[in-house]
């Protein structure tokens, strides 16, 4: 039972990180209809910036640079590539982001060379003991930070002008444009926010507690698990992204313990497959209706 509680808390902590990534996917999808395959690259850019600046500037400043850099990179992808081909359909733009991901990720790996740096999170590898339960502090911090950011996001999404503009555009682009909502501003901020969320997530992923390995191809592979998280919850549902992220975190933690570490990587995708067969648009996604 203690193991189980331990796993659930740690799984939820990982889940909070996946939720941040999945939220980024969903925000981009809602604003531009594009599935961003380059999300893993944004994670890597953030991580790389932290890794090279943490020695000189210390962790807080380096993290700020990483978050800003990841956001900026996302903004650049949107401004330079996605917004230029506004008339191309979203599916070809998704393929375009695959191209971006190949180039950017490979460039980061080339820069890293043989080094596998950690990002120097001060809370990493300091397990917390509550009675006979051992918890990873990274996962605890991730849970808290995740809850704060997700709450802030939902408040902004619900009440701020940006959130209203964003939801209006997702609902009906033509009407939103007629109401004076500037499409380019909405899409640009959506990518910026998604990039920054990825920049936050990487600080937790590249720790001994979470992935057990420094910034590397594994980081990119882990970021990919945010895909099942977003799809599971439904690509156009922000609440779904959070639920999906938590499900992915829990499935990962529980299957790694009770089946095998190898199986955990598959389990996440199997869970997604099961949900998709039962509900093709995810748990909270809008059902597609075909009009003839």
């Amino acid at each position: 039972m203690t193991t189980f509680v331990q796993l659930v808390v740690n799984g939820l902590g990982k889940g909070a990180v996946f939720a941040l990534l999945a939220l980024g996917f969903v925000v981009i999808f809602k604003a531009t209809g594009v599935i961003n395959f380059a999300h893993g690259s944004l994670v890597l850019i953030g991580g790389y910036l932290v890794a090279i600046s943490v020695g000189a500037l210390g962790f807080p400043a380096a993290t700020a640079i990483g978050i800003a850099g990841a956001g900026l990179a996302a903004l650049l992808i949107e401004r330079l590539l996605v917004s230029r081909s506004r008339l191309a359909d979203p599916n070809s733009l998704a393929l375009l982001t695959i191209g971006v991901d190949v180039v950017v990720a490979e460039d980061i790996f080339r820069r890293l060379g043989t080094t596998v740096p950690y990002l120097g999170a001060p809370w990493d590898a300091h397990p917390v003991r509550l009675g006979n339960i051992t918890l990873f502090s990274t996962q605890l911090v991730a849970l808290v930070v995740g809850l704060v950011l997700i709450t802030a996001f939902f408040l902004a999404f619900r009440f701020s002008d940006w959130g209203i503009a964003m939801r209006a555009q997702a609902e009906n682009p033509e009407a939103a444009a007629l109401m004076g909502i500037r499409r380019s501003r909405v899409t640009a901020t959506a990518w910026l926010v998604a990039g920054m969320l990825a920049g936050v997530a990487v600080v937790f992923i590249v720790t001994q507690d979470f992935s057990g390995i420094g910034l590397s191809r594994t980081t990119h592979a882990i970021a990919f698990a945010a895909f099942p998280a977003a799809i599971l919850g439904g690509l156009d549902s922000t609440a779904g992204a959070v639920v999906g992220g938590l499900v992915v975190g829990l499935v990962d933690a529980l299957s790694a313990q009770y089946v095998s570490f190898d199986f955990a990587k598959v389990a996440v995708f199997l869970a997604m497959l099961v949900v998709l067969v039962a509900r093709p648009s995810g748990l909270f996604g809008t059902r597609e209706v075909t009009r003839v």
């Binding site: 191309a88 359909d89 599916n91 070809s92 393929l95 190949v102 180039v103 191809r217 099942p228 997604m272």
Partner: protein, 402 residues
């Protein structure tokens, strides 16, 4: 996702049969004959490195043809190609191999004749593709692509979990060398062509070439026939296709099975090329997501739905990596671990090529080729112009795919 956006309208049945029946397209036939002749003569002149690179490209081309059928023609995005490659390679190794004891592990083999094992491997992979059909039938577009991604992870797990079949991730297993009615595709025996001895590399080249040509012709036939028309109808509008009497679920299932069969065949060729079947030790190995994406890049660069395009895409994506590796020293490139290695450069090349294709020429190399031919013939009509870029732009934004 309706693939209207990436459609290649000139493959519609109109126009082609008339030209095919009335007057033979002699320039094209002669061009193909010349290309084939060159491919037959090349192994007599090429050094071993380039020979091996050429074989690798042919393996890629076989796989890419399968992907261009399911994605370009039937409009079903599949990221599972790497999984089917693994299934094909494993099935061949198990069917053709002998049961051996490697340490504590008993490696299973049936000892079939290699040709039978190859056919068996293709059939088994096709069945795996068919087994995915219930999922494919329910999903569309990117959802389908990501669902198919699950197969790659399942393959990654099974490859490691079933060492009796795959030989395990640490050592792998050696596939039985191919032989045809007693003729071995190895260094055994002495045969020569124009005084050049045909040894394993040359023999494998001809084997791969024959497989590629057969695969190419079958795909072209499927595309021109009833199956291909059904695929394109499903791609362009599922509801309309159903109304026209196309069995949508069956068309999708067939597309997945055929594409998987091609990938399985490529998987068999791949283990013959490596001389080794080795499941991945990490998520980014030979049968990982990156391989699926490499195949996707091939068909995108070549032009979705175009079979010659798929072959050209394989040449760019897999060929560039091999050729850069061969000439790395001459070009002053780094080794695998330092800086701009050949692999890194080839990834830049095809990553950027994918971006360029989506931004500037959604029809890929196939559209560029068609436009060039049309311009050379001096009958570049307005409808030829619209085949690539503007064809997709005719769809109102936001209306397509949703």
């Amino acid at each position: 996702m309706s693939e209207t956006a990436l459609a290649t309208p000139e493959f519609s049945a109109a126009g082609r049969p008339a030209g095919r029946l009335r007057r033979r397209n002699w320039p094209a036939i002669i061009a193909w004959a010349v290309v084939l002749l060159i491919l037959v003569l090349l192994p007599l002149y090429l050094p071993p490195g380039l020979l091996s690179a050429g074989q690798y490209v042919m393996v890629g081309a076989v796989g890419a043809i399968g992907l261009t059928l399911v994605f370009g023609q039937a409009g079903q995005l599949s990221l599972a190609h790497a999984f089917f490659l693994l299934v094909g390679g494993t099935a061949y190794s198990v069917l053709a191999g002998e049961t051996t004891q490697a340490g504590a592990e008993r490696i299973v083999g049936f000892g079939w004749p290699p040709l039978l094992a190859l056919i068996g491997a293709v059939v088994i992979t096709a069945l795996f593709g068919l087994a995915f059909a219930p999922v494919a039938g329910r999903l569309k577009g990117i959802y389908l692509g990501i669902a198919s991604l699950a197969l790659v992870y399942i393959g990654f797990y099974l490859g490691r979990a079933l060492p009796a079949l795959t030989g395990g991730a640490s050592s792998g297993r050696n596939p039985e060398p191919f032989s045809l009615f007693g003729f071995p595709f190895t260094n055994e025996g002495d045969i020569a062509l124009f005084g050049v001895p045909l040894r394993q590399p040359e023999r494998l080249w001809y084997l791969f070439l024959v497989v590629l040509v057969i695969g190419y012709l079958l795909a072209a036939g499927a595309m021109r026939g009833r199956v291909g028309r059904a695929w394109r109808a499903v791609r362009d509008h599922e509801a309309a296709a159903a109304a026209m009497g196309v069995n949508v679920l069956r068309a999708k299932a067939v597309a997945f099975a055929v594409s998987a069969a091609y990938a399985g065949l490529a998987g068999v060729l791949l283990v013959l090329w490596y001389g080794l079947l080795k499941p991945d030790e990490s998520e980014f190995g030979n049968y990982g997501l990156n391989t699926s994406i490499a195949f996707l890049a091939m068909v995108l660069i070549g032009g979705l739905g175009s079979i010659p395009g798929a072959v050209a895409g394989a040449l760019i994506v897999w060929g560039s990596q091999q050729i850069l590796t061969l000439f790395a020293a001459d070009l002053g490139l780094g080794t695998a671990l330092s800086g701009f290695s050949p692999t890194v450069i080839s990834l830049y090349v095809y990553g950027l090529a994918v971006i360029a294709v989506v931004l500037f020429e959604p029809g890929g190399l196939a559209a560029i080729g068609r436009n060039t031919v049309a311009a050379l013939r001096g009958r570049r009509r307005s409808d030829m112009d619209s085949s690539g870029a503007s064809g997709r732009r005719s769809a109102p934004p936001g209306k397509d795919g949703k």
